[in-house]
Symmetry: C2
Subunit: 183 residues, 2 copies
């Protein structure tokens, strides 16, 4: 079986945060599979692959479709915003494999990491994530009227500080932990 499937992290949005490894994986594909707005981020002038757009909340169907294409011998790239392993498509693909056609296990499959939104947003404001413990979680109880999948809330720690600047946005950072000398 000569088909392949790669789950590609597109990063948080700007094309210059797409890694060269991810760009190469997209370029090597014959088919791009993903949620429509993520596919729309990939410039068609550069990436002329066949596109298979689908709606949100159909992750398993999308994964099965991608695996079926790969099993037919296509070179498939499934795209995710941010990183494919953070609230994204990689787990859905492996779930589909485990429950699906045993032949899918023989496919050449890999994951291309991406800059996850948390790191990009944190970089925008400074260095807010505490050194001792960084937690990423889903706001399962969030009111959809106030927050959706494009919403990112960064909560620092009790020690998080603002560095004020005259006439400019302050920096936000969390001081390093006491155990910085841990090797």
């Amino acid at each position: 079986m000569s088909g392949s499937l790669v789950i590609v992290g597109l990063g948080p949005g700007p094309i210059d945060l797409l890694t060269p490894a991810a760009a190469r994986a997209l370029q090597a594909a014959t088919d791009l599979v993903g949620y429509g707005p993520y596919l729309d981020r990939i410039p068609e002038a550069i990436f002329s692959q066949r596109r298979h757009a689908s709606g949100n909340r159909v992750e398993i169907d999308r994964a099965r479709h991608a695996l079926t294409l790969a099993a037919e011998g296509r070179q498939v790239a499934v795209v995710s915003g941010g990183d494919p392993g953070v609230f994204a498509m990689a787990a859905a693909v492996f779930e589909a494999i485990e429950a699906g056609d045993p032949a899918w296990r023989d496919l050449d499959i890999h994951v291309e990491p991406g800059i996850t939104a948390m790191l990009a947003a944190a970089a925008e404001v400074g260095a807010p994530t505490p050194e001792s413990r960084v937690v990423m979680t889903i706001l399962a109880e969030a009111d959809p009227a106030l927050a959706d999948m494009r919403t990112l809330v960064i909560i620092g720690a009790a020690a998080t500080r603002l560095v004020s600047r005259k006439g400019r946005r302050p920096w936000v950072y969390t001081p390093r932990a006491e155990h910085e000398a841990v090797p």
Copy 2:
């Protein structure tokens, strides 16, 4: 004051996981500041900037040195392995600013995110990080004879699964959470 300072995430190692934005920030610098082994990752044939290498565990001294160079009008890039906000140099730079020369607050400073080692290692094995809650922490109690700053331990969840394959390394993934339909 025309100096600038950017804290650049080099990613986990392979040059094709360095973002184009980070590469451009390195190229625009006059001076590269960092822990020696991280500077050594940056090809001298492409990046001919002046280099200021220092040892591990001198983060604040390194940050002050970089800020001093920037205050002299240099374009300084401080490099971090992975992402600058995850157990890396960004917090040290902001700590040095808050405690240091008030003129440092007028410098043009920003952070370029990078692929953090956790995401790259997770991608290597499949999709092990649980969707509902991802925690990155320092193994503060780790025995230095067994683990150092190059050690990464990924712990999934009770639901984490192996997908076995004949004659090949299994994939590791954590099924998506029940609340996948959260918008």
